[in-house]
């Protein structure tokens, strides 16, 4: 029995749990990108920095709450600060839409113009965030770090391998599931959601049926801002907050959105998990698993690692390129970039 359980626990500890959590974080980020692409028809390069912006506000609020002595017990205080983070992110995105993107909509600019404008906003936010909170790493997790420590797990089960589960990991998965359910309910069942989908499918037809485009755009930004702030805070709680890493998240998030099919929310979720698990599984060293499963004489000398962990980013890039070449619409037949 244990010869099967040990490698299973090992894989769960190093592949399943990290992959699941990272996948959920990517999926939430990719959802925002895909929604903006579906409605506004451009790739929003500022999305990574929008996540950083929401997280920054949340961190600042968390510090304020902590200085007042407020805490949530075992849960991170950041959850209390999050609504304000979301609110200010929404205001910020609506302001950029009002000041920048609306102008380009009015002049019916090409998608590439929007894209370049979003890069401009990205750089602006980049600077703004570094100006306010600095380029350094911020750790704002408090409360109980672990739900289950690897050492406790070993003691409890008597296995050789431990399984550590952190509060932030459970939080990430639970919040992601709830958000996705809410989002799909909103898109499928409410009138506004249906209007958004109609607008995404055929803009002209939607306008003719009396759907107010400005309202749809506004709601899209609000949802994207909410998703971005939540995804950013979850990522920051689970890993750490650093403006530069949020900017780097753009690549795997775009890869996730494109693999799933741009403009398709379900695609963003599936894509997020595909990217996350490819990154984790291709860079995992299977030597220890082999030690449990293979007979003595087959024991490998090497690490049984397909790719060095340095190539993590390259993996999402390769997937992105292959999908664009072979199936540009992605798994769920999204729009073509």
């Amino acid at each position: 029995m244990t010869e099967w359980l040990n490698p299973l626990v090992l894989m769960a500890n190093f592949v399943l749990v990290p992959g699941l959590v990272y996948g959920a974080q990517l999926a939430l980020g990719a959802l925002g990108i895909t929604l903006v692409f579906g409605i506004l028809r451009f790739s929003n390069f500022a999305h990574g920095d929008t996540m950083a912006f929401g997280t920054m506000i949340t961190i600042l609020m968390t510090w304020l709450l902590q200085s007042w002595g407020v805490s949530l017990g075992p849960l991170p205080t950041a959850l209390l600060a999050l609504p304000i983070g979301i609110f200010l992110t929404i205001l910020f995105l609506l302001a950029t839409d009002r000041l920048v993107y609306r102008h380009y909509r009015d002049v019916r600019a090409k998608p590439i113009t929007f894209l370049m404008a979003s890069i401009g906003i990205m750089f602006m936010m980049n600077g703004l965030i570094r100006f306010i909170i600095g380029p350094g790493e911020q750790i704002f997790l408090d409360g109980d770090r672990f739900l289950m420590k690897a050492r406790e797990f070993k003691k409890l089960t008597g296995l050789d391998e431990g399984l550590g589960i952190r509060t932030s990991q459970v939080l990430t998965v639970v919040v992601a599931v709830v958000l996705v359910i809410l989002l799909f309910w909103f898109l499928q069942r409410t009138k506004t959601g249906k209007a958004m989908r109609a607008y995404s499918d055929n803009e002209t037809l939607a306008r003719l049926s009396g759907i107010d485009p400005e309202r749809v755009v506004k709601i899209t930004w609000i949802i994207a801002a909410g998703l971005a702030a939540i995804a950013g805070v979850l990522y920051g709680l689970d890993k750490s907050f650093k403006p530069f890493t949020y900017f780097q998240l753009l690549l795997p998030m775009f890869a996730a959105a494109i693999v799933g099919g741009l403009g398709k929310p379900i695609g963003a979720i599936v894509g997020g998990f595909i990217i996350a698990f490819s990154e984790v599984m291709l860079t995992y060293a299977y030597k220890k698993v082999g030690r449990y499963l293979l007979p003595e004489e087959w024991q490998p000398d090497g690490l049984l690692q397909l790719l060095s962990t340095d190539y993590k980013f390259a993996i999402s890039f390769v997937i992105l390129v292959v999908v664009l070449l072979v199936r540009p619409t992605g798994i769920f037949k999204g729009k073509v970039v």
């Binding site: 500890n13 190093f14 592949v15 990290p18 990272y22 380029p135 350094g136 790493e137 750790i139 672990f146 420590k149 690897a150 050492r151 797990f153 070993k154 431990g162 550590g164 952190r166 990522y235 689970d238 890993k239 750490s240 907050f241 650093k242 530069f244 890493t245 990154e279 984790v280 860079t283 995992y284 060293a285 299977y286 030597k287 220890k288 698993v289 690490l303 049984l304 690692q305 060095s308 962990t309 340095d310 993590k312």
Partner: protein
Amino acid sequence: MKNVLIATAMVAAMTANAAAEDIKIGLILGFTGPIESLTPGMADGAELAWKEVSDSGLLLDGSKIVSVRADSTCIDAAAATTAAERLITSDKVVAIMGADCSGVTTAIANNAAVPNGVVMVSPSATSPALSTIDDKDHFFRTAPSDARQGEVLADVVMGKGIKEVAVTYTNNDYGKGLAESFASSYEKLGGEISISAAHEDGKADYSAEVAALDAAGGDALVVLGYLDQGGKGIIQGAIDAGSYEQFVLADGMIGQSLIDAIGEDLEGTIGTLPGSESDSARNFITYGQSAGVDVDGPFRPESYDAGALIALAMQAAGSTDRAAIQANMIDVANAPGVEIHAGQLDYGLFLLKNGVGINYVGATNVEFLPNGDIPGSYKELVVEGGKFETVTVR
């Protein structure tokens, strides 16, 4: 007639060199990049020395030192070289204090400083490769080479009875050099290295790197990185995954912020750090406090010394000529001469002005080897009760 006038004016301008002036010294450190949290303190250390020198009014008839800061980025050799070129050709600095990380330091030395005959004093580049670059005696450093640290660290690990370790190092010249010197010394002592894997700095998540280190196995995890970068992430990841309990750290990882971030799981961790518990080190910290500068941090004493040595060499040379500074670097740092400690730069300047030789001790007991390195002593540290405690000095 006109020409004669112009020539006279030019000669006058040149001889004015000897009179009071503002002397520009370049200060090139990674103000952005992976050690951006360390560099402001380092810059303050060097500028503290220059302020002391300027305020004394004794440097070359009351000249003042002006610090010209530039960004080495720590990792981008091209950007660092451009910044150094700018310092040398456009700002016309007389010498350079810096750079910080070994990779960019090598690039600046080879491409900008040495070809232009400019002295460079690095407070923190510790790669063994820098001992052998063709620097025509222009490159100095106040931090010891990692060739020595690798040996000391291997000794410390063996002394604990740890026979097999996994090694992870930050993917740059510093990490690579240190990992190599550690590996060769450790294996010579009979130890076994299960894996020697590089990690990139500045990532948010190191679970994949930890997974590989875990798969390789070993009794302890040797982390040769930076405490506010990948090094910390790796340790946190290893503890989260329950894969290692004993950690071994090198100088880049030593700092209270690491213990504050990780907590009690770090108890029993061992490590090495250049420096000693000497009077000079303690004296420097008290001096820094009295001057209102926080100098109790990694590489700040070394930075102060680097800055001070440039100023003293200039005084010994009696000019701001680049070659003259270079010729006097070793003289002011080494015995014989009157010992000069941190906070006594005015006394050193005074002695030099009157033709008395000095032996600059400074904050870190500086003594240059012929190749511009310093031999350096190391503290063996252990984490006890939430603090790095010195076990012995090696």
